[in-house]
Symmetry: C2
Subunit: 494 residues, 2 copies
């Protein structure tokens, strides 16, 4: 239905985005905020057709899509608030000391500036929140960067609708057309051409390891390498500590069945590995988990490709030596449905089989049974980079397992206690990203205001008079932002 | 005299650094600051032997080395102040809202944490400030990362002396031995093995494009890619605008002769390209520049390899079509001396000859003669990423050339007005780094407190009670640092 973008269209898109960059980068925080708020309003104004289209294309239920639309508009408005306020750009001022010995000190001022057009790849599992007007585009616009979005081929019509809302906002706000360009591309060649285009300054991607790593490798082979922020999934290990299981195994078993199967497990923070030491607490946890999983209704996955991949990867795990099925839904499932299920394996086997370390995207989790705490630590020290690590633990457990918590903190972008890693809170303290291979650059995240920092760089300005400085760096602090002024945070003028 | 590190030594170095990381990362800001201040004291305690050794190995004059030692100790103490104060780690706290509808909000706290052992390659042109205890190691220690330094083969004895001071500080502060490891390696294989070691988490490098890019490419080919912060030099274009030249051509000509030839031009911020429009102002500027260059005494360069490279690259530029020598020192020079000199070429020729865009590391600069302002803009839009761009301009010039200033701001990490780019001020507002190829990642810099941010990543901690949180994130704010508390900067407790 939608044609892949041609080479000519890709060139036009990036040239247009670059031209837009030359003016869009000078939009004030207030102007960028107005643009982002207008996008949110226009998305809401699309009404039920957007939800219906996304339902049809993604198989996601209405309630989830209504919630995700809300989250997407909130993200736009939250980032709008951040840029409107303005302190995010880390204005830093060191005033001159003309009489300093042996040399005078010059006046130097510094702020974050946008890096250029950002290419964003829509994600299959969040047709709104990580797609066409999702957090990557929102962060880029907030930074002052135009955005070229490649729609995810699983929900092209949804993407077109959201794009129409953005284009209205571009027009209403009087922005250059290239502030947003929308393309389709089911073929990898389109993505490759977008990453390799000389005018592309950065890339945002949420999806599979194979896809993200391929884009990362391409970007590093360019004559001018550019950053690729790929969030590539995670197995999100959950450490089940004994005292907590002894006290509340059933509660946590039920809680985790919900986290593993909710949204048919199609979240990058889905708990894919459960790690516990053998004992009655773990047994009770599994009884509750298994019972809940067996009663969980299968639902169609996002698209047939994802359903096929889920079944293949799950079957591959189940075919490994010493892997036992723990639970599987007892309800009927159709060909494109997920299969709510869990399996188990010994820690010794897990440690020697890399296949078991791989993410199975969908409603499935693997229990790693440890003989003792030492084996649990061994598992922790052999895990790859993760978005999250979770502990189910009492205070007693935490005191007794300090080293394990510290080992987990090396692995992940977020440590969670006595909750589930799914349901990522969108706030300033969130980190959604983690050490490779969870993401290509664990120094940045793709949730909250921090996401803006992926698309900026510091620029120092030395010796310029007030009238030639951007408002953010002028003596009087006309924007009233927080600035680091001669070593002190301040909202004062000079 | 010093043997290249063996594979076994490299493995031991990184394993030892990683072991140290597991405890060093929990050192408090005060403890890390004490360590860095002790290093500075121990470097000063080395006394004249350090300066004498560096003089012998680098050919740099005593006064310069005394100044550089001061800068190096200041850097250590400045970064010590920053980590002792503690606000740098961007503590961010969002407290729980248990009654929020439809879902409760969890307590989430976030701070920057160190990423692991950092490998630093000493630089030839700054035997102190960008070498063994230079800004890269200082930033890594400040972040909480152990450091493995590969001494620059041009000043191994100097590096050994500085290393001895650091080792004393490690001992005096009771730190694990792996907090600092010193190795030699004239062969590229040593550098390669250091970058490829699985326990290496990041790399700091200051030197040539060829060297830095090779390390960057290796790091991206690892099973787990790591960041390489390579500062690879720059031609630092200087735009000479007409009104300023008409008024003060002679002053600026003399000033620039000093900046081009000072330290025999062996600074990454040396102005390598002068860009002006033909006219009497530019002629006067060149008369003053040329006269001063002709009177500049040649001095031995850092080492014979650099002298050879300078002569080859300079000869190559002079051999290009339509390049004319403008000035050359009239004083005698020895085989390893730099040759203070300048040449010129038309903008049309410059635009079509990429060889002329390359850095010539040493006391040489190329004047690009433009026919008009339009040609000057064309030159600006064809330049590669730079550490600095400078304008010699009156207010009138700046008003008349807004587009040119804006184009230059896209190119560089620092814009300078009516001064020289050399003599980098070490302060919080400085940016030393720029778009590729000036550095591998223009989002970061290698001067000032900002350098710490290269070696950290955010970690979110969700749902943990006060007693299990690091002091930086505890309710009472026991360290009294600035924190982003529920969206507001604050030093208050909760």
């Amino acid at each position: 239905m939608f044609q892949d973008a041609t080479t000519a269209q890709i060139n036009t898109a990036l040239e247009s985005a670059y031209t837009a960059f030359l003016s869009y980068r000078y939009q004030s925080g207030a102007q960028k905020a107005a643009f982002m708020r207008t996008i949110a309003t226009e998305i809401e104004a699309l009404g039920p057709i957007l939800i219906e289209t996304a339902q049809r294309e993604s198989n996601l239920p209405e309630a989830r899509l209504l919630g995700e639309r809300g989250r997407t508009c909130n993200q736009l408005r939250n980032l709008a608030d951040v840029v409107a306020e303005g302190s995010w750009l880390q204005a830093t001022i060191e005033t001159a000391l003309p009489d300093r010995q042996p040399l005078p000190k010059p006046d130097i001022r510094n702020m974050l500036v946008p890096i250029g057009p950002v290419v964003v790849f829509g994600a299959s599992n969040f047709p709104f929140a990580y797609s066409t007007a999702g957090v990557d585009p929102a962060a880029a616009w907030a930074a002052g960067c135009p955005v070229v979005v490649k729609a995810h081929p699983a929900h092209p019509e949804t993407s077109e609708l959201v794009a129409s809302a953005i284009l209205k906002a571009v027009e209403k706000c009087g922005l250059p057309a290239g502030a947003f360009v929308h393309l389709h591309g089911a073929n990898f060649e389109v993505g490759k051409a977008l990453v390799m285009h000389p005018k592309t300054a950065a890339v945002g991607f949420t999806g599979s390891f194979v896809g993200g790593k391929a884009l990362f490798d391409l970007a590093n082979q360019r004559p001018v390498p550019i950053p690729v922020f790929a969030e590539m999934g995670s197995t999100n290990p959950v450490f089940l500590l004994p005292d907590a299981l002894e006290k509340e195994a059933e509660k946590y078993g039920k809680m985790y069945a919900g986290s593993i199967t909710g949204g048919m497990g199609q979240f990058c923070t889905k708990p894919g590995l459960l790690i516990g030491t053998a004992g009655s607490g773990l047994d009770q946890f599994m009884v509750a988990l298994n019972a809940a999983i067996e009663q969980t209704a299968p639902v169609a996955m996002l698209h047939p490709g994802i359903a096929t991949a889920f079944r293949e990867k799950r079957a591959n795990v189940l075919a490994q030596t010493a892997v036992a099925v723990e639970a599987e839904t007892t309800l009927e499932y159709a060909p494109n449905d997920g299969i709510p299920s869990a399996a188990s394996v010994s820690a010794a086997e897990f440690l020697q089989n890399p296949t078991l370390h791989q993410e199975v995207f969908g409603p499935f989790s693997l229990l790693i049974k440890c003989q003792n705490e030492q084996e649990m630590s061994q598992v922790a020290s052999h895990l790859e980079g993760q978005l999250t690590c979770t502990f189910i633990a009492t205070d007693h457990d935490l005191h007794a397992h300090r080293d394990l918590v510290q080992a987990a903190s090396l692995l992940c972008g977020r440590l969670v206690l006595n909750s589930v890693p799914t349901g990522v809170e969108v706030c300033a303290a969130m980190q959604h990203g983690g050490p490779f291979p969870a993401s290509t650059d664990g120094r940045f995240g793709s949730v909250g205001a921090h996401a803006i920092h992926r698309f900026v760089r510091p620029l120092a300005i030395q010796g310029f008079k007030d009238e030639f400085l951007p408002a953010e760096l002028q003596d009087a602090n006309p924007l009233g932002i927080w600035r680091m002024l001669n070593g002190q945070w301040s909202k004062q003028g000079i």
